[in-house]
């Protein structure tokens, strides 16, 4: 897969490696030596690298390339479940019945695509509405504490929402020649 199609979080690592690959071995040894003995040089080097990095990313990748996988997901949700149609339509004037019928299309199709791409699991074990103990050293990314937050863990509380995490991510691969901005092509039927 080309760097253009990777998620944004991967980008700096790939490009950094690429950059480093172009610095000769002895130059690297010299740099390493200077970093060891001269902290300001190290800071300057990191800063310079970051600037080069940012410039490269900006120049090489327009936003639709940086976020290509997001657009891919949107395209899939539209293709399978007409999500963009649904979101783009003003629904205030329609009856609940009409909205409900459309929602079945959206729910059924998006669910199929969603389950194809992700395996989703609760972020915390337990049943919603039941007591739960949050131990010390809990994972603050997976557990958010609310209400009367004081004292030291373990905390006793009630599980209000079990949260979600993506246990598996299986995004499709996209041809590089495709324009990721096209979420759904126009359809023209020939008679």
């Amino acid at each position: 897969m080309s760097p253009a199609l990777c998620g944004p979080q991967k980008e700096p690592i790939l490009n950094y490696r690429f950059y480093m690959a172009h610095i000769g071995f002895w130059d690297r040894v010299k740099m390493a030596w200077r970093i060891l003995i001269k902290a300001p040089f190290a800071n300057k080097l990191v800063e310079a690298l970051n600037q080069v990095e940012a410039a490269r990313t900006r120049a090489a990748l327009p936003p639709e390339r940086v976020h290509a996988s997001a657009l891919t997901l949107l395209a899939a949700l539209q293709r399978e479940g007409r999500l963009v149609d649904f979101l783009e339509q003003e629904v205030a004037g329609f009856s609940d019945e009409d909205i409900g019928a459309a929602a079945r299309v959206v729910h059924g199709g998006c669910r199929k695509a969603f389950r194809q791409f992700f395996v989703i699991a609760p972020a915390a074990p337990g049943i919603e509405g039941e007591p739960i103990t949050v131990p010390s050293g809990f994972d603050a990314q997976r557990i958010r504490l609310t209400g009367n937050l004081s004292g030291q863990p373990p905390f006793k509380g009630t599980l209000k929402h079990h949260g979600w995490v993506a246990a598996e991510v299986r995004m499709p691969s996209i041809a590089e020649t495709l324009d990721p901005r096209v979420i759904a092509p126009a359809e023209v039927e020939l008679s």
């Binding site: 891919t72 395209a75 899939a76 293709r79 007409r82 149609d85 649904f86 783009e88 339509q89 629904v91 329609f94 019945e97 009409d98 909205i99 019928a101 459309a102 079945r104 299309v105 959206v106 059924g108 194809q116 299986r170 499709p172 691969s173 996209i174 041809a175 590089e176 020649t177 495709l178 324009d179 359809e187 039927e189």
Partner: protein, 594 residues
């Protein structure tokens, strides 16, 4: 490098791929990367057996590329099925059914069947080869090696005749596969069951059991009977009989429901496809939850105004019961035979779909036709039943078949059948095929039985010609029922003459019920005998070079001999009488005259 056996289910509507590691014996199914939209490659467990023939410029450059090849001309799989529904004239579907259709030239570029002249057509063989090449690509992506250096077991319907089997191996050759063995799908389903139950197999079935495999795929229904026997204290499985080719399957069911609901509605073809898809889902909902009275179906608008443009329908339990269960699995007597439409002089050459949708009637016909193994009863009594095919995810359909069968058995003072609970109904055939490859290496139990048909060449009786009356045709048995792979039949005493340099054509017949005929037996008047079916003719041209005499027009006396190859195909040869000449007879797949 580790060698594998690879099982391929080359289905009418879906293909699947599974393997077994020959050193460890472990195995699994292989997911198949495929285009799901232009430029989007995703993995799926099934490859829909559809090819979409692309018009140049229709998609952007690179939109049809697969991880293992660049592609411009066509797409196979999910994209082909989905986009093809909107452009039906460019869609190749049911290629497998065309492979077994003896009224057309199966090696010629026929498909898409109703395409405009500018569409480049392909033969059913080439279509099958393309699915196999796609699966080879998927195998490559799984990083287990090259498919052409693995032992491949390819499944075919038990009802495939000699020519259809030959064409299947031709497709495999075209796809570059070197080592291919054929296996009948119902047997593959039974192997998958044996694999899934493991040692419990010996507790579940006993000597004397007769297992009925009911395999209803997307486009075909296939029946087989497999007996549990014993030799030297070991359990053995022997395939006793297979049914005829019935072009009727789960897709017909969804279509019937869609037609039922579409009555009085103005749907375009795209919406009808969406309705068919909706029917399948609603049906599955109703079958899964017996308390539900109805399931909603929403058909999205074609344009972007989804809310307000969506058509609401519902499928009721009553629809499902009446249209599906009573329509496809009617409660009938074992003596009820399938209706066949009267043939008119001008038959349209399309696929010969089953005229009677009653699968239970086809089953009744199968069991009563096999009267020779019924042990004096009016039909063969199975003692166990194994279901295969996605259709039977619906318990209600399994239950109906079992109920009808048990009624027949009870009336004939037989005991009810027990159901052999299998694994995944969509993937069992591929898994079973991979397991069979493992069995061929000496592990586990093997199903024996050889060919499920006897084969005959037609010999025109020497009677004065009467205008409008076809002269009676006698049939000489050249290959008896039950020939094992890698064996030859005896040479019948009958002598034929080949004319050097001119094509010689033999009419060719098969029978799935006559198990007593030996090679050399002559049967009178086979054309009007229901036990026989005329299949594609066989032909050969004895070239001037290969004959000793080297003269065009000279008669060379020969005997016919049949052999079943290791692959599982039938081969007919001419042996020169009193000489060493041998010529292979080709099964003519260019269509018999109707």
């Amino acid at each position: 490098m580790t060698r594998h056996t690879v099982g391929i289910d080359l289905g009418t509507t879906n293909c699947a791929l599974a393997f077994r590691d020959l050193s460890e014996g472990s195995g699994d199914v292989v997911s198949i990367p495929q285009l799901t939209a232009p430029g989007v490659v995703e993995e799926r467990l099934l490859l829909p057996s559809f090819i979409y023939v692309v018009k140049q410029g229709e998609f952007p450059d690179g939109a049809l590329d697969l991880p293992w090849e660049k592609q411009f001309a066509y797409a196979a799989g999910d994209l082909a099925r989905g986009h093809g529904a909107k452009v039906p004239a460019r869609l190749v579907a049911s290629a497998k059914s065309w492979l077994s259709h003896s009224s057309v030239d199966r090696s010629s570029a026929l498909l898409p069947w109703q395409a405009p002249p500018e569409v480049e057509r392909i033969s059913p063989v080439e279509a099958s080869a393309r699915y196999l090449r796609h699966l080879a690509g998927a195998w490559k992506m799984s990083r287990k090696g090259d498919l052409d250096s693995e032992e491949v077991v390819l499944t075919v319907p038990a009802s495939f005749d000699a020519a259809a089997r030959e064409l299947t191996t031709q497709a495999a050759k075209q796809a570059g596969l070197q080592d291919v063995t054929l296996l009948e799908e119902p047997q593959a389903a039974l192997y998958a069951w044996i694999e899934s139950v493991g040692d419990a197999f010996r507790k579940t079935v006993k000597v004397g059991d007769v297992i009925l495999v009911v395999d209803v795929g997307g486009g075909t229904s296939d029946f087989s009977l497999i007996a549990v026997t014993e030799q030297d204290g070991d359990l053995q499985l022997t395939r006793m009989a297979v049914g005829d080719h019935i072009l009727l399957g789960g897709d017909n069911m969804d279509l019937t429901l869609a037609h039922h609901l579409a009555q009085g509605k103005n749907l375009d073809s795209w919406q009808f496809v969406a309705l068919t898809y909706g029917c399948r889902q609603a049906k599955e909902l109703l079958f899964a939850d017996l308390k539900l009275k109805k399931a909603p179906i929403s058909i999205p608008s074609r344009g972007s105004a989804l809310v307000g443009g969506t058509i609401k329908m519902e499928l009721t339990r009553e629809d499902v019961t009446r249209v599906l269960i009573d329509g496809f699995m009617p409660k009938v007597l074992v003596t009820d035979l399938p209706r066949t439409a009267r043939r008119t002089g001008l038959t349209q050459v399309g696929l010969p779909y089953a005229q009677d949708p009653g699968i239970t009637r086809h089953l009744a016909a199968f069991l009563t036709r096999q009267s020779r193994i019924a042990e004096g009863r009016s039909f063969v009594h199975p003692t166990a039943i194994l279901f295969n095919g996605g259709v039977f995810k619906a318990r209600a359909l399994k239950e109906r078949v079992t109920e009808v069968l048990n009624e027949w058995l009870a009336k004939d003072s037989g005991a009810p059948v027990k159901e052999l609970e299998g694994g995944n109904l969509d993937l069992a055939v591929a898994r079973g095929a991979a397991y069979y490859g493992w069995v061929r290496h000496g592990h586990g139990i093997r199903i024996r039985g050889g060919t499920a048909r006897a084969y005959y060449v037609g010999v025109e009786a020497a009677v004065p010609a009467v205008p409008g009356l076809e002269p009676p045709v006698k049939a000489l048995c050249v290959a008896p029922f039950g020939m094992e792979e890698g064996s030859n039949a005896d040479i019948p005493p009958q002598e034929f003459a080949l004319v050097v340099g001119e094509p010689t054509v033999f009419r060719f017949f098969s029978s799935s019920v006559r198990r007593e005929d030996r090679a050399g037996d002559m049967i009178d008047d086979v054309v009007r005998n229901e036990e026989f079916e005329e299949v594609a003719p066989i032909e050969t041209t004895l070239s001037i070079k290969s004959s000793k005499s080297g003269e065009s027009g000279k008669l060379v006396p020969v005997n016919l001999q049949a052999a079943v190859t290791e692959v599982g195909t039938l081969e007919l040869r001419c042996l020169e009488k009193g000489g060493s000449g041998r010529w292979k007879l080709e099964l003519n797949v260019r269509g018999k005259e109707e």
